[in-house]
């Protein structure tokens, strides 16, 4: 078991013919992901190393039975591409694109919320990896192996750092989910925590948050009420000054809201252990896994 992507994934890539799109599509395919098609308007009928390209998502779904979309188009086209994928019946949309206008994200989120068969992960995220099964996105899969730790994170490279520290202590992962660093992520920590809670393979959950917004505080509440599996958390941005965006569009402390300290306190108040460094997160995870084994 794992969540979101696995051996049943049938991936269609929007922006497959772009430089980055082609590179990462072939990378995902090389990992063993079932990449069935791609979409680039005006390039229908072509192929990318044997992967057929279609003009529309509707054509791609009809011809290849795609159930998962990866969005790799530039920001100004991304919202439209997400909406097209949903309209064509895709069930999981993974949006890698960084820099989508916030009002576009707002419209997409509110539209998709009327369809309970679709899930959006991202935008501005590294994607989803279920080691040994499927990789949808840009996560460097070589650093991860299959195992029982589920990881959910707002940041890509921070996920690799934490994942690597876990791997050095002998842990593998059920699934690694990057939910992205934008103001309106399609899936929140809560959505992914709920999936990990239901997933048989996942025994321990690591969540990596950062400053800005209130997603970590909301997750703390949710964990207290509905997650029985142990959760270890990390928060980045204790030294971030207020009013400055720290790289991610969503990572900004405005006034007193969204500080790392507030998030840490909210999590600890509900019994979630928070590591102060990526190394400490892995140490706590190891300690908990040790007690699980006994």
């Amino acid at each position: 078991m794992s969540i979101l992507v696995d051996n049943d994934t049938r991936l269609c890539v929007s922006g497959i013919t772009g430089r980055e799109g082609t590179f990462h599509t072939l990378n995902n395919k090389g990992y063993g992901t079932n990449v069935v098609s791609g979409v680039t308007p005006g390039k229908g009928g072509q192929d990318v190393e044997g992967i057929p390209v279609f003009n529309t998502f509707h054509d791609a779904v009809a011809a290849t039975g795609a159930n998962t979309a990866m969005i790799f188009v530039p920001p100004r086209f991304a919202a439209d591409s997400i909406l097209e994928a949903e309209d064509a019946g895709i069930e999981l949309i993974v949006a890698i694109t960084e820099g989508i206008p916030a009002h576009d994200e707002l419209r997409v989120y509110n539209h998709l919320s009327h369809n309970d068969r679709v899930r959006l992960v991202g935008p501005n995220c590294p994607g989803i990896l279920s080691p040994g099964k499927a990789n949808v996105g840009i996560i460097p899969a070589a650093f991860f192996s299959a195992g029982n730790v589920g990881v959910v994170s707002r940041s890509g490279t921070l996920t690799y750092q934490i994942g690597n520290e876990l791997a050095q202590r002998g842990f593998g992962n059920s699934t690694i989910v990057g939910i992205g660093g934008d103001p309106v992520p399609g899936s929140s920590f809560i959505d992914i925590l709920a999936l990990f809670q239901e997933d048989e393979e996942t025994e321990l959950i690591v969540m990596a948050g950062e400053i800005g917004g209130s997603a970590e505080e909301e997750a703390a509440e949710f964990i207290a009420e509905g997650v029985t599996k142990p959760v270890v958390a990390y928060i980045a941005g204790f030294t971030a000054p207020p009013g400055k965006t720290m790289g991610h569009a969503g990572a900004i402390v405005s006034g007193t809201a969204g500080t790392a300290v507030a998030k840490q306190e909210a999590l600890e108040a509900r019994g979630v252990r928070v590591g102060r460094t990526p190394t400490e997160v892995a140490e706590i995870a190891a300690e908990i896994a040790g007690s699980l084994a006994r």
Partner: protein
């Protein structure tokens, strides 16, 4: 991107939000000419992106030409909590009967715009929220539906605005919502929203934050950026497409990916150091970007040591190493560097660095060790 008050008012005016007439000025002569044109009494207001301008003496009423000249002289060039006044806004004085508050916030948690209205304007709204939360009427709007007239009525009645201005306040909210969506703002705030003696409703102040990611389709808004108010290092970085935030310390930091860089700042602080900057070289950085990033970091004179913390995914460690080697060739830095490379092509990257034998470059195997080392070297 935050707009100055007058830029916000001009943006409001484009969408039919009533604002007092006025003109910007960058010199005393321009300010006096503007005051003559507008007529007396008028108000001369410092244009800086910080609150508390009035208390700092940055907002003055001029009753005649000599007063206009005196105030313009005093305000232009003054320092308001670290912000130099380069520009003033000269505006017709308003006859204020009541001060209300209105705002529209991009509410990330609810994933909807949040419209707020209160009759307790003219003061810090966070204080009002704390003291008397019921004094602020709030309403979330479905962005697919948009702001409807009934929304406006509900807010106006709930906030208990004077009965005779329910309609014009509602109309102003409607236009404010137009401005919020059409210009792709993260925040529009009017404090105070005034009712004049002759019962006109208008925005006496304007605070507008625009979404940086949307500026590619708002060329007119993008052109409003005041580069003289920007930190020189931050401008240099922005022009090179790097994400850089200047901080107060002395440890220069470069990493890839916003989360990892934030984490690196924290780990350096925990090791007893003080970061001089946040710099995200981004995913898939090529050598040239790394070289430019080193230039930006070292252009800050406070920097006494630099930490490279890279976990390569789509970024290749050999490209990072090449960029650093090239930076040493071009700039010949006189501060020590600590480099930690992990991930894609890390062996190749470390081999390149070992071969180059750069003076004063130290490699460390882990993020924690690298942070401790750089703090030691920074002194």
């Amino acid at each position: 991107m935050d707009l100055l008050e007058y830029q916000g008012k001009q943006l409001f005016a484009r969408h039919g939000v009533p604002v007092p007439s006025g003109a910007p000025a960058t010199t005393v002569e321009e300010a006096v000419a503007a005051a003559d044109e507008i007529g007396y009494p008028c108000v001369i207001k410092a244009q800086v992106q910080i609150g508390g301008r009035g208390k700092a003496g940055g907002i003055k009423v001029a009753n005649d030409r000599p007063e206009a000249e005196e105030h313009a002289k005093a305000i232009l060039g003054m320092d308001i909590r670290g912000h130099t006044v380069h520009e003033v806004w000269v505006e017709a004085a308003s006859d204020i009967a009541s001060e209300y508050y209105a705002s529209i916030v991009f509410d990330r948690s609810a994933k909807r715009p949040l419209v707020m209205l209160s009759t307790q304007g003219g003061m810090d709204i966070e204080e009002v929220a704390e003291r008397d939360p019921d004094a602020i009427a709030r309403l979330h709007v479905d962005p697919l539906l948009g702001f409807q007239d009934f929304h406006a009525r509900r807010l106006a009645f709930e906030a208990a605005v004077d009965a005779d201005v329910v309609r014009p306040v509602g109309a102003l909210l409607n236009r404010l919502y137009d401005a919020f969506t059409a210009e792709e703002a993260m925040l529009v705030e009017v404090n105070p929203l005034i009712v004049t003696g002759d019962r006109q409703v208008m925005a006496l102040d304007a605070k507008v934050t625009l979404d940086d990611s949307s500026l590619f389709r708002h060329a007119d808004n993008a052109a409003l950026r005041k580069t003289e108010a920007e930190d020189p290092q931050e401008r240099m970085a922005r022009e090179r497409g790097l994400t850089y935030v200047k901080l107060d310390g002395n440890v220069g930091i470069l990493g890839n990916g916003a989360g990892l860089v934030m984490s690196t700042l924290d780990v350096v602080a925990q090791a007893g150091g003080s970061p001089a900057n946040f710099l995200d070289a981004g995913g898939g950085s090529k050598a040239e970007a790394i070289t430019q990033a080193v230039e930006v970091i070292l252009s800050n004179e406070n920097v006494t040591a630099v930490l490279f913390n890279i976990f390569g995914g789509i970024t290749r460690c050999d490209e990072v190493a090449k960029g650093l080697i090239e930076a040493f060739r071009q700039i010949e830095p006189d501060v020590p560097f600590v480099v930690r490379l992990d991930g894609t092509n890390d062996k190749e990257g470390r081999a390149l660095l070992a071969e180059a034998e750069l003076p004063n470059v130290h490699t460390e195997a882990t993020m924690l060790d690298a942070a401790r080392r750089v703090v030691e070297l920074a002194g």
